[in-house]
């Protein structure tokens, strides 16, 4: 048995050395999974570039930045795809990424795009998702959520460990400003629990533990399109919804800089973007000629896209998390 396992591991590692040229893209694992947009995108790009596209996948966007910072200038990565706007300031400060030098006026990202290093490839909004058969009268604003009945529980994620958790923290900060701490104190009795990541909270929600869960406005689209299940909806909040934009950039030390640039162009083309709505369950960063897939029209459209500039998030994140901790612990 031991020989078998050694042989197997040897085979697994041997596949690393492929024929040149190979473009190496670091991303997160739900992007490259069989059911994610990665495989179709790799196939489309390989067909037109005459190269091999090698995805290296880690947990999520936060792990992605961590890995790039660990590897530093000697990284094998040509392109990093999958950071979100809240990580951009730290990623830029690492000095590892190269400016993209493109005009980005045609992008469909709400509020426009100005960054000269990172290019967006999709976006979405955080929202509280509910089951319409369980909850007839969902809150219509963040203020209603905060002041609502304590027995109607919500599931949220921890801003110290999770991207949506941080999103909610910023959302509350946008709406309540300096009174965010008090708002969290008021919200506290409604919180059933605060989970480590999105998967735990969403899993508990699907088991019926609480009627509302922090997720994305596009979550109901998954249930509708992939499962034919019409029960789920996102609660539209009148103050607007916090925006999450996912971005990619080329590394300064890329071994295949031309292929990397070509990939970034490809990323903003319809051939990449059409895999986003039903692969990554986010909105494409470029308007698709054939429009969004059927089912997306049932989703709520936020009244306003809320967001902080990345630098402001980087500057205040620690203090705001401390404020959150103080309001929910003690």
């Amino acid at each position: 048995m031991r020989y078998l396992s050694t042989l197997m591991l040897a085979l697994c590692t041997a596949s690393a050395g492929a024929a040149p040229p190979t473009l190496t893209v670091y991303t997160y694992s739900s992007f490259t999974a069989d059911w994610g947009p990665g495989p179709a995108i790799a196939e489309a790009f390989e067909a037109e570039c005459g190269c091999a596209l090698d995805f290296v996948a880690v947990d999520d966007g936060v792990a992605l930045l961590g890995r790039i910072r660990l590897e530093g200038p000697s990284s094998k990565a040509d392109v990093v795809l999958g950071l979100d706007t809240n990580l951009v300031a730290e990623a830029r400060a690492s000095g590892l990424f190269a400016p993209h030098g493109r005009r980005v006026g045609q992008l469909a990202v709400p509020g426009g795009w100005r960054d000269d290093v990172f290019l967006p490839y999709d976006y979405g909004y955080f929202a509280f998702v509910y089951n319409t058969e369980v909850l007839a009268d969902p809150p219509r604003s963040l203020r209603e959520l905060v002041t609502g009945p304590a027995e109607q529980k919500i599931l949220i994620q921890d801003p110290r460990t999770s991207t949506p958790g941080l999103g909610l923290l910023l959302w509350v900060r946008q709406v309540y400003g300096e009174r965010a701490g008090a708002a969290w104190k008021q919200l506290r009795p409604r919180i059933l629990t605060v989970s480590k990541g999105w998967s735990e909270a969403y899993g508990l929600f699907l088991e019926g533990e609480a009627p509302l869960v922090l997720s994305y406005t596009t979550s109901p689209a998954y249930h509708l399109i992939a499962e034919g299940d019409k029960r789920f909806a996102a609660a539209a909040f009148s103050e607007g919804h916090y925006l999450q934009v996912e971005v990619a950039a080329r590394l300064k030390g890329a071994r295949e800089p031309e292929l990397a640039e070509r990939f970034l162009d490809f990323m903003l083309s319809e051939r990449f973007q059409r895999h986003i709505p039903t692969g990554n369950w986010m909105y494409p960063a470029v308007a698709l000629p054939e429009g969004l897939p059927e089912g997306y029209e049932t989703l709520i459209t936020p009244a306003r896209a809320l967001s902080f500039p990345p630098e402001e998030v980087a500057r205040h994140r620690k203090a705001w998390i401390d404020e959150w901790l103080a309001a929910l612990s003690s």
Binding site: S5, D34, A63, L65, S195, S199, L204, H223
Partner: protein
Amino acid sequence: MGRLAPCLGVLAVLGVTVVATLGALLLTAPAGWSDVVHDVYLRRVVAFTFWQASLSTLVSVGLALPVARALARRERFPGRDWLLRLLGLPLVVPTIVAVFGIVAIYGQNGLLNRLAGAVGLGPGQYLYGLPGILIAHAFFNLPLAIRLLLPVWQSVPGESWRLAAQLGMSGGQVWRLVEWPLVRHAVAQAAGLVFMLCFTSFAVVLTLGGGPAATTIEVAIYQALRFDFDLARAGLLALLQVVCCLGIAAAVQAMGRPQWVEPGAGRAHARPDLGGRVTQVLDYTCIALVAVATLLPIGAVLSAGLAGPVFAVLGDPRLWSSALLSLGIALSASTLAVLAAVALLIGSRELRVVRYREGLADAAELSGSAVLVIPPLVLGTGAFLLLRPLGDAFAWAPAIVIGVNALMGLPYAIRVLGPPMTRIASQHERLCASLGLRGFARLRLVEWPLLRAPLGLAAALCAALSTGDLGVIALFGSQDTTTLPLLLYQRLASYQMGEAAVTALVLLALSLGLFAALERAIGGRARA
């Protein structure tokens, strides 16, 4: 010195791993001890970590005592072997799956609340908070403690029972004079291990704890390493965790030193305290309660899996390549862990039995746990920093994963193999010496027949643990190295709860099969 050499070798590997990993992180920046010491938030976190770990250990090991005793007293009842194997399952269930299973039974909308609703009682909200943490930790560790305690109970020599019967001892006297002196060592060992496991618990504490008031040091380490990318702080916190954990575990384990048993003829004799309808009912009630409480969440995991898209998931080649990789890692890691445990224990029992250096022996056995209390993320990051000068550190991924899994399994193997190996030495050392029985002959004639069963259990436990462990693979994984637990987490992160449930089912079946196969193949037909 000959018998101490392999032990020193293992200790050296452990020492180098701990010092190098933590050192690699600490050296990235000037360490801020004073920041850590004066951090109010951190002080609260440390206090809470101690509090929940102590309570969890008390509940898990405290409940395991009567149940293990009941199982030891009732050696034959239908399904006993399978019950013991099923009790191994909670150990291998990935945390997140276990949380879903626990919630399906004990949650707001869980089975218990629905039953309560059916008889007209309102739903009770009791899970989220300290009760949730304790229930989950008992779910993981109560069966572990039972499995660790049971073999020790079964090692009570027949002569002792005969004597107890001749003296007409009551149940209470049997416990006080025969059983407790013998199991005390194993109880302390189990409590030490459970304490460390609960101390380093993370997702369970956060998710079922109800809010950030329930934060363990492990969360703070994760936060420092991931969001803050403060490697030095993560290294410091990991060091703090290692010191706290090993300190407490050492104190707990010092309370129970092994008791010497005079060599007996090994003749079987029934326990004198089996009669009586009341004790019988009590024993079976204990067993049934634990079986139901533990197996219900497992049942929920199984039924969720069977309700999912079984055939679609089973038809996915990725599932099988992941399963094969997990199997390969599990077998390699388990082999390494058992070999390392044996090497370490040969030295520690020499210290204990031949040289009467109990303190040193305890320290050697406890060092085997050092790696268990370092978070996988810290180990992975440290390994990366260390290997970076050698080129592409991620090419080492499979070797690192196997090594880390082996080191994580080591404490379990030590606790399974320690008591019987020490016992063999204490009973047969002089006989072996007088017969000039050494080396391979001693191994074949003395050790192997007596150690087969525990070796089987240790290998099975380590392999099963490794199968279910997400470990460092998440940090080192790429397209080519997806283990079964990683595949499961990936599905969960992509709305595919049904597919994830089926994957969990496959994972459980694989672990259980591996467990039963190794236990049988190595341990033979003897009961562990």
